[in-house]
Amino acid sequence: MRNLLLNGVALATLLAAGIPATVLPAIAQDDFLAAKQGGSMIVTYKDDVSTLDPAIGYDWQNWSMIKSLFDGLMDYEPGTSTLTKDLAENYTISDDGLTYTFTLHKGVKFSNGRELTADDVKYSLERVTNPATQSPGAGFFGSIDGFAAMADGSATSLSGVTVVDPYTVAIKLSRPDATFLHVMAINFASVVPKEAVEEFGADFGKHPVGSGAFTLADWTLGQKLVFQRNPDYWKAGIPKLDTITFEIGQEPTVALLRLQSGEVDIPGDGIPPAQFLQVKDDPVYKPMIIEGGQLQTGYITINVNTPPLDKVEVRKAINMAINKARIVQIINGRALVANQPLPPSMPGYTKDYAGIPYDVEGAKKLLADAGVPDGFTTELYVYNVDPNPRIAQAIQQDLKAIGITAEIKALAQANVIEAGGAGTAPLVWSGGMGWIADFPDPSNFYGPILGCAGAGDGGWNWAKYCNEALDKDAVAADSMIDPAKAADREKAWSDIYMKVMDDAPWVPVFNEQRFTMKSDRIGGPDAIFVDPVHVPVNYDYVFAKDVQ
């Protein structure tokens, strides 16, 4: 296994000057640039791909597929969380920080032959914010002027987006937003051609037409999808592969066995636990494994409205009672113990924070201080897919040791989400639904899951934690758009999360590492196989060694 520190993480909020997409982390530059074009790759997934419509797709499988079929104004350097320009050849920001003007590359074509223009950008943004599209990502565009009117249906066009000329689009915000460029890089902001959307209507997701490195050549429902190289792709030299075949319905155990027999190249769902222990020390397979960090945290939410969990001492006691190292052991060491909401590779992570220590006696004492020395009974909700019920049982045992009896409710994902959203779940283990960042910015970990907005009925803030002072701090931090102030912004966010830890609405348990196994015949810089944004793999930069 080769550990790879994510390159340029500290630059994530720096609005770097445009770096051409073909320049990669130096570590693998020679490999990639010298590689010949050609060859194919087989990737397997267990679950069906629901849609390839960028305005709607929000799954593990289709997230990176959509990135390979479509482009947006911004993107990230491959294998990193460093922002870079994509369709936007250049951009300028007005002095008040409210207007971003993007100039597009010329000659970018959709796969139906037509050139991509600023009108398409405006159309795409309006489409994703239009309630009729039912996009799960509409909320990300909240800072664009005119969003509110689009959302409640009183307007059909985004007043903040103006087409200055066929290659220039200006976007005006209603407030300064330091995450705006990240939002322009997210899948939901991908540019789609109006005529294709109108032609296919609701089935556009099955017949995607984009400007990306690949096009969809074939889709057999429930069985496989085939991507084909876009020969007219506007970035020279990419992609290297001619075709990618995605096979669906493959159990991870089976996929791994097929990898070992040379039938598939990448099991997209990762390495199942039992096999992980076998292959990680096997000299034949060890070199095929690539490890990387993820922008992910697994945590227990504690409902701050349910007595006696409404007492901060009780919540801190729960924090102290959990043996996180043991939980990591149960998942075969494939995570790092977490002590705060943000994952280590996220800017704003507080490096020298010790966290709430594992201290059973101290926990019991805190409970006594809070007035419940004999403990109490409560419920722990968990998603009923392995390994989460096991982790829940480990948590249950830890809580029992300090006198808290937690009954486990292992339910289908939708039921857990429902209970969490309704506020009827006192404790929820987030496993299987653990928060993975939508984009590499600290604000993404706050709003929906720790902010007051998410604490309403049905919101994803299952702890129902609402600290209005922190909300104000968050808004202030997000208005620091000056790149020179990036370090200050990070510090601001770090402070916010430290204050969250003081209130202890969560028990941060671990940050899962990503392990991708790939066959020997495909190559590419390691980082793209554990890409933090093109999750799980950045298909555009993979090449086939057997055509060299």
Binding site: Q329, N332, G333, P387, Q397, A410
Partner: protein, 303 residues
């Protein structure tokens, strides 16, 4: 819904009332029935005496029960059947799991037989529009894919031991209802029933004194045979993750939790699997033997 039930479900000719001692004696002459009885007895004893028999607490997650990397232990001196993926002793969990399987199996089947009897006997005796409505409803429920129905029902209620038993019962009552319906109907068409009715005997009396005794054989057979199905259904629901809640052990959820390791630790799947098989088999053998004994005239059962 079918006019022909498969061979094993066809109505029995009403037999003379059951005499327990002779039945037991005849049972003991059949090796298969003996095997069934012995297995059930062993498992029941293990379930009842679980706290005494099990070497460890089934919920206790041992630190030494997992390797440093989190892998379960193979059977060894300390843990005779090895450990599961949380470091708990598999043998202890198996023994306590017998409680779950047996209790749910018996209770669920009991409820199923009760509901089935209620529906079937009422429909068969009173006939008329009550009978038609009840039997059409039974046909309807029979056309539901059983497992799908169970899964949906389980998703509606917050899961617990009793809810699981109830769900299984709601899926399994139909066959019993159908059989008791046919038997009750043929019974109540006999002349002596007509005679009794014309003498003014109330329905309750007739049912209690004349019809029910002839149905006891069928009910006993189904009360036994049905348990094999309910045990399997409980195991399947637990295997899918929607059975009894952790950490309560059930043979099915032991397999569910540990199946990802079946290539490296297959005993975690096959030992509980064998237990499920044995219990279901035992009830099947016992029920089959009971049916032979209680109604030797049934078509095709010949010795």
């Amino acid at each position: 819904m079918s006019a022909i039930a498969p061979d094993l479900g066809s109505p029995m000719a009403p037999a003379r009332p059951v005499q327990a001692r002779s039945v037991l004696a005849r049972l003991l002459r059949r090796p298969q029935a003996v095997f069934g009885l012995v297995v059930i007895a062993i498992i029941a004893l293990a379930a009842i005496a679980a706290p005494l028999v099990a070497p460890y607490d089934p919920q206790q997650q041992f630190f030494e029960g997992l390797t440093l990397e989190g892998a379960p232990l193979a059977p060894d001196g300390q843990f005779w059947f090895g450990t599961d993926l949380l470091g708990r002793d598999l043998l202890s969990r198996l023994i306590f799991g017998a409680q779950t399987s047996l209790v749910i199996g018996v209770v669920a089947n009991g409820i199923a037989v009760f509901i089935g009897a209620l529906v079937g006997i009422t429909a068969g005796y009173f006939r008329g529009w009550i009978g038609t409505v009840l039997m059409r409803f039974t046909d309807l429920m029979m056309s539901f894919p059983a497992l799908l129905l169970a899964i949906v029902l389980a998703a509606i209620f917050k899961p617990s031991l009793w809810i699981v038993a109830l769900v299984i019962a709601m899926v399994n009552w139909v066959q019993v209802a159908r059989i008791l319906y046919t038997e009750t109907r043929s019974l109540s068409e006999r002349e002596f029933i007509e005679a009794e009715r014309s003498l003014g005997a109330g329905s309750g009396l007739i049912l209690w004194r004349h019809i029910l005794p002839h149905l006891t054989s069928t009910i006993i057979v189904w009360a036994t045979l049905g348990i094999s199905t309910t045990v399997l259904l409980e195991a399947t629901l637990s295997f899918l993750g929607i059975g009894v809640q952790p950490p309560t052990p059930s043979w099915g959820n032991i397999i569910f939790e540990n199946q990802t390791y079946f290539t490296t630790a297959p005993w975690l799947v096959f030992i509980p699997g064998a237990a499920i098989l044995l219990l279901s088999l035992a009830f099947n053998l016992l029920g089959d033997a009971l049916r032979d004994i209680l109604d030797p005239t049934q078509r095709g059962r010949g010795e």
